[in-house]
């Protein structure tokens, strides 16, 4: 079996959210640490799409920024083609990695410099990495990239504000592709877009993956989008992974109660008339996570062990799950997702 392209091992990242020094001294307040990512491990194979799903505060965006080295992990390693890049410190040492790993951001309005022309925005990585091929001009390369993402080469002379949200995401994709990367981290690339535009962008991303052999780390809170895009899925909650499995396994045989909850909250567009039973409670603040299993306050199957002991990821058939209930075999089988079950039943 070939080596995975990316391996994250026991990644952890803490943010210091302590009150200012003066307050700490005068009021005797302690330092507070926010464990945004708390012991996360996964692997991504070349040419595949790995999706990280979760709600706000689960740490998926932080993981994205760790992989792309916008932050340096507090602990853990990130091996890209076998070499750990988490320990690199100097900007120069990271340059080879940066060329091969790029990112697409969520907000199409804040991710392009409003004062730069589109052509300059796309050309920046080409210039920064010195990637101009022999006998080619920057203008030609930029024109090619624009065409590749479905825009016209003339669009290079315009400014970002002249474009719609979907077009700006295309520009962002063109910029990300300018350094000829192997790996793209996509942080909720379509969450800010209308549904019909989202379809265009997702289709484009699939085309590009096929044409250029790209590997994607796809961050999203929308399970339906993940179902469409991903080969492998990791579900995160309060900085930890609950379940990692192939997309097919997650959507037909989800095991962790939180995964089931997420699947249950998907709206039923087949109009089967089945009422969803919404689960109570909200995501707790990551500054003060519950002890033991982070999900226990909302879990209908929590017992004393869940409240005290933190579950570890374990292999269960074709998935890895971090749940005492699954380990002890306590959880009822079967799923309750009307959309999938009904359609599958109807299909025979």
């Amino acid at each position: 079996m070939s080596e995975p392209l990316l391996r994250a091992n026991r990644l952890a990242h803490y943010f210091d959210v302590s009150p200012p020094w003066l307050n700490r001294v005068l009021e005797g307040k302690p330092r507070i640490s926010l464990k945004a990512v708390d012991d996360v491990s996964f692997t991504i194979d070349k040419g595949r799409t790995f999706a990280l799903v979760g709600e706000s505060g689960c740490g998926k965006s932080t993981v994205a920024r760790l992989v792309v080295r916008l932050y340096r992990p507090t602990r853990g390693t990130i091996e890209f083609e076998g070499r750990d890049i988490a320990s690199l410190k100097a900007r120069r040492d990271l340059l080879p990695y940066r060329r091969r790993v790029q990112m697409i951001f969520q907000d199409p309005y804040a991710s392009l410099n409003p004062r730069w022309r589109v052509a300059d925005i796309i050309a920046e990585p080409i210039r920064a990495f010195g990637l101009l091929g022999a006998g080619r001009t920057v203008a030609d390369t930029v024109a090619e990239l624009l065409t590749q993402v479905g825009l016209s080469p003339d669009d290079g002379a315009r400014y970002p504000h002249e474009f719609s949200g979907g077009q700006r995401q295309r520009i962002s994709i063109a910029r990300a592709l300018a350094s000829k990367p192997d790996f793209l981290v996509c942080d909720e690339p379509t969450s800010a877009l209308d549904v019909s535009v989202q379809a265009q962008i997702l289709n484009l991303m699939k085309d590009l993956q096929r044409a250029l052999g790209l590997t994607y780390l796809f961050i999203s809170h929308d399970l339906a989008v993940v179902h469409h895009m991903a080969d492998q899925v990791g579900v995160m909650y309060l900085g930890r992974l609950c379940e990692v499995a192939s997309a097919e396994a997650i959507f037909t045989r989800a095991r962790h109660p939180y995964t089931r909850l997420l699947l249950d909250t998907l709206p039923d567009l087949t109009m089967s008339g089945k009422e969803r039973v919404p689960v109570a409670g909200e995501v707790p603040s990551p500054i003060n996570p519950p002890p033991g299993c982070g999900f226990h306050p909302r879990c209908p199957f929590a017992n004393a062990r869940c409240r005290g002991e933190r579950p570890e990821l374990m292999q269960v058939d074709d998935a890895t799950v971090a749940c005492h209930g699954v380990e002890e075999g306590r959880l009822p089988q079967g799923i309750s997702f009307p959309a999938l079950a009904d359609v599958q039943g109807a299909a025979g």
């Binding site: 709600e55 706000s56 019909s196 997702l202 399970l223 339906a224 469409h228 709206p267 969803r276 909200e282």
Partner: protein, 326 residues
């Protein structure tokens, strides 16, 4: 048959700019029956929020209602003087907006905001108002309401804040609530809770809801009828089952097909090429024709009117029997 609670006839909302007048809502007519939930769905720029704002009287200048009528419970309300409109808000029409953070005043406790609104519209003593506020908070599912009524908005989480906003909208027993993207800013697991709560409360209080959103999933689960808007115009209205499963208008069909759905594994999502036209670039004839795979010459020439087809209405020449004749 009971008369509709809200009737909007040929509503026009315009924005004068120095480059000319932009029409944000172009001849929209709809109605809401008492106790009914009408979804108004459309993508950004379609004019759905403008419609809601016009009805509740909160259009921001220089936007203004340039034509049409809004009739609430038999009374015309769009041409009322400011004071009367103000009294209408809260008493007859409640509002729920997208961002629970800015919908509540951060400087006042929840109790104060609720009591103030209750006493503005209902003739009750302060003690009665507080009782009512407490019972409302319990109704919307705030745990330990006795204690939390004295808290400030920032002490609540996002979902809890939105529940308080719902309580605030309901406290004067309005007949109609305009909810503009009430769950978009919330986590998915909370969205389901809030929508279920809204639906249940509105049934219990017999309050009609105009639910403005871009999220078809929310509409499918909550609304009774749905109106689809495109470029400031209404393209289809009908019972939610019909519009979602058997859409009449090509845009609605395109929209439904482009939504990724579990259980339908496709290689590529069906997409609508192009984008919704900007307000100053709306084409002649049917606004959707440049993107419509079934566009005919008639579509390019004349703007279609709303045509009745069973329980639904649709603005599309494809559904007119004499469509072939230009």
């Amino acid at each position: 048959m009971a008369a509709p609670l809200l009737q909007v006839r040929d509503l026009h909302v315009e924005f004068p700019t120095r480059r000319g007048t932009l029409v944000a809502v172009d001849g929209v007519s709809l109605h809401i029956d008492p106790g009914e939930i009408l979804g108004v769905v459309g993508e950004s720029g379609a004019g759905k929020s403008m419609t809601g704002a016009a009805i509740i009287g909160l259009l921001e200048a220089p936007g203004r209602i340039a034509g049409g009528e809004i009739i609430l419970d038999g009374r015309r309300i769009d041409d009322l003087p400011y004071e009367e409109k103000r009294r209408l808000r809260g008493k007859m029409i409640g509002a729920i907006f997208q961002d629970p953070l800015t919908s509540l005043n951060p400087l006042y406790t929840v109790e104060r905001q609720l009591v103030e609104t209750i006493r503005t519209h209902l003739d009750v003593t302060p003690a009665e108002a507080r009782e009512r506020a407490l019972s409302l908070l319990k109704e919307v599912g705030i745990p330990a309401a006795e204690e939390r009524i004295g808290h400030y908005p920032h002490q609540f989480s996002g979902g809890m804040r939105q529940r308080v906003v719902i309580a605030l909208a309901l406290c004067a027993n309005p007949r109609l609530i305009i909810a503009d993207e009430p769950t978009t800013a919330l986590d998915v697991s909370i969205q389901a809770q809030i929508m279920a709560l809204l639906k249940r409360l509105c049934r219990e209080h017999r309050t009609a809801v105009m639910l403005v959103t871009h999220d078809m999933g929310v509409i499918a689960e909550t609304a009774d009828r749905v109106a689809v808007m495109y470029a400031g115009r209404l393209v289809e209205v009908g019972p939610v089952r019909d519009v979602v499963k058997r859409p009449l208008h090509p845009y609605t069909a395109g929209l439904m097909n482009s939504i990724p759905v579990l259980g339908r594994k496709v290689e590529y999502l069906s997409q609508i090429d192009g984008a919704m036209p900007r307000l100053h670039q709306i084409p002649e004839g049917c606004a959707y024709h440049p993107r419509c795979p079934q566009a005919m010459d008639l579509c390019r020439a004349r703007r279609p009117e709303m045509m009745v087809k069973g329980p639904s209405s649709v603005a599309c020449w494809l559904h007119q029997e004499e469509a072939a004749v230009v």
